[in-house]
Symmetry: C2
Subunit: 465 residues, 2 copies
């Protein structure tokens, strides 16, 4: 038979089992985090009509999209979760209750040039709150709390949520007479962290005709130690600016009540995000030890989610985590908690011809929520233990003639080393942990269940405290 | 602005929020069920190289596939989860431990003619156990137990798992001199339930040259009340048949130890499944009250998973649930448990300008795992309660001036009717449930948490007992 070489397309993440367990745990924790804030899950098709998906049209999107014909239909794979949300809300407007809070974790597709750490198929984990006509600022103030809860539950410690308000920036540009160059100025100050204030000033002055004085004013404001205080003197002169400062103040004011520690949050006046889309609060989240990664969770407030589909005014606020890229970074940085990715808790090794006793033991374990696998292949005993070790399965259970006759099971803890001193062994046993113990079946089930309920570290990410 | 009419492609399931909650709960229960049996999660790309996906080639598959060009690449969307598994195992053979037990729940794509209940994008929920060279029969015996656990946990009651063995059928055809017509005979007896024994006999005799005697022998065997006993007289004459009967006996023998009640399991000698692929045990699962739906979980034993990619012999056994179609059927049959699809447990209604107290209460609830949503939009009080009712949110919490000053919260149980008699009310209150109660914040958190921990019915499916 002629064989095809098996391969996975480049730019498509395909994980080995232990990593997949961690990835799925991240997804589960995000789902749980989002649910705690009253977000409801959504799942839209990966394929949409091209005219729907490209209603906004334009630039990079259209070049990268996977678009194809099937029969008479012009179809495309979704390139984000926002456009499908806009379509969903416009389409189902009458069946939804507003504010509509949804999360969606799903794959999106972009035919980017393949390079390390860039993916053509990747998961986004999005939340959005959509208002009908209006949406209170409190929704914007709540977002950092969700980011904080989600990343903390994942195990991340050293990160900071940065917040700004687009009205502050736009109002400021108006106040400084920079309305004409607003876009250019914004793109330039966005580079402040990367290239430093001197170069930013040079670009502003040389390339965009900003006066040296104005550039200095702007730069000293942007790098103020206390940004909220630095904004004060500019108040009362521009309505947009004042509204932006008020909103930013509200967001800052409620941070503590929302449970976000001060050291995980800051106002950063240099953050702009997408130039056209966002209109109020904007967010970025950076890993303190890996600034080169950029923002791992971003978003903001927008005024009109679905203007391409409906005349309903649907303002919203949302954030997105690029989960596949984040996972890739965590792999690269060796920050994944690989210690806990076993597919089963107990590997059952029957050693008699009749397997009824071993099977009944497996059934009893499963009924108690303990993950059990029977290993009945024709392999040597040692090979089976190797199998358990390779998969990090913590317990092996043996049922030989003696055990079956006596109605017992011998349970071996595979994670306990063989080189304990007698003292260490006695200490463990006094705590109810045995290297190996033979117990009646029902007791063996409880014993394993108890050992497993010992608090273990389920966080998929390991970070410095 | 010119607007595009929002629409979702026909043949693509897009659920409203309450249904999506139930769908996701089904997925979670399947994941948990599969994990209990030691299956590890897998997630492969939805897009593969066409030459890889179509290595086997042939017929319907190629017609239905979504295939397209992107740059120089000939790409296709996966049409099932088995071919990607074969690729995965062949590609990662050296990094996997065998037997390799994986589950995968994901979307697959088939450009079928659109009709009611047929989907072009649909979820499959698959498990497979892959052996390296050999795979013990116990893996086949275990499968019905997994099916039983999964469907029972979903809430399904009235279903039956039917099992057969392809070697029994093939051996029997050899014994009866029907080897030439084996395929035709198999397809005909597969219709037994639908068209009855007389018509089957007529087809066998008239169309496929089976003698009337042989047809009678076959039909009496296929419809025997005790199929295992009926097979006995044929033993000792054909090796394949004997092996098949032995395997089938093993599967039947261990059903009780695997926890499958006798009334949820039967041997059905008419089941054949795919003609080419399966080589040993085969499975179908039917809803007793809805036989017209056909099998809702099918699969079987195969000898060589990845022959198109590798010379390694990789036998396996697997089953698949067509989750999207199952969900559609449950919707149609009104078998979904819609009572429990709220996106939040508590809707918090602040009634003061400063929201700190309300936000802190939300944070305290969330820290205890209670799903809380703040509703701070400018709406009338009554509209906010309507919102909670529409979303089936069970509790509303009010924080007015009085509560904030006193450090309390007023919690209202929205699921309790307003028309209780005094007696009924007293009875509820004696059990710790109040229509409305004002409590200090910390106590209010515990109170809500306790009310929610009251055993509620989380099964997504409601079936007759």
């Amino acid at each position: 038979m002629e064989r095809i070489k098996p391969r996975t397309l480049s730019g498509f993440m395909e994980l080995l089992p232990a990593d997949q367990v961690l990835f799925d745990r991240m997804v589960a924790i995000l789902r749980e985090s989002y649910a705690l804030y009253g977000f409801t899950p959504l799942d839209t098709p990966a394929i949409e009509a091209s005219e729907v998906l490209l209603a906004k049209g334009g630039g990079e999107t259209e070049k990268q999209i996977y678009r194809f014909q099937k029969g008479d239909s012009d179809l495309s794979l979704r390139f984000d979760l926002t456009v499908p949300l806009a379509k969903y809300v416009a389409l189902h407007y009458n069946e939804l209750s507003f504010p509509f809070r949804r999360f969606q974790i799903g794959k999106v597709y972009r035919g980017e040039r393949a390079q390390r750490g860039r993916f053509r198929e990747f998961y986004q984990a999005d939340i959005d709150v959509i208002g009908d006509g209006k949406l209170d600022i409190i929704n914007e103030a709540e977002i950092p709390s969700i980011i904080y809860r989600a990343f903390t539950a994942l195990g991340l410690r050293r990160f900071k949520i940065r917040v700004n308000n687009r009205m502050v920036l736009n109002g400021l540009f108006a106040l400084l007479g920079l309305e004409q160059q607003a876009g250019d100025v914004m793109r330039t100050i966005d580079k402040l962290e990367k290239i430093g204030p001197d170069k930013v000033k040079a670009i502003l002055v040389d390339d965009f005709a900003v006066s040296a004085d104005t550039a200095d004013t702007l730069l000293s404001l942007l790098s103020a130690a206390d940004p909220m205080a630095a904004l004060e003197p500019f108040k009362g002169k521009n309505e947009l600016f004042d509204l932006g400062v008020e909103e930013l103040n509200t967001v800052v004011k409620y941070m503590a009540a929302f449970g976000v520690p001060a050291d995980h949050f800051m106002v950063d006046l240099t953050i702009a995000r997408g130039l056209d889309y966002y209109t109020g609060t904007v967010y970025e989240t950076v890993m303190l030890d890996h600034p080169e990664v950029g923002s791992i969770c971003s978003g903001g407030r927008y005024d009109n989610l679905a203007e391409y589909y409906t005349d309903k005014q649907l303002p919203g606020v949302g954030i997105s985590i690029g989960l596949t890229r984040l996972f890739y970074v965590l792999q690269e940085q060796k920050m994944l908690n690989a210690s806990n990715a076993a597919p089963a808790d107990v590997l059952i090794l029957p050693m008699t011809e009749d397997l009824s006793a071993a099977i009944s033991f497996a059934t009893a374990l499963r009924a108690q929520g303990v993950r059990a696998q029977l290993h009945c292949e024709q392999k040597k005993f040692k090979q089976k233990l190797n199998y358990a070790n390779k998969l990090s399965i913590p317990f092996a259970a043996f049922l030989g003639e003696d055990e079956v006759k006596a109605g017992t099971v011998t349970v071996k803890n595979l994670l306990m080393g063989d080189d304990f001193t007698e003292e260490e062994k006695a200490d463990m046993e006094s705590q109810g942990f045995f290297k190996q113990v033979t117990l009646p079946v029902a007791e063996a089930v409880s014993y394993v269940k108890n050992c497993l309920s010992d608090p273990k570290d389920d966080r998929p990410i390991l970070d410095k405290e």
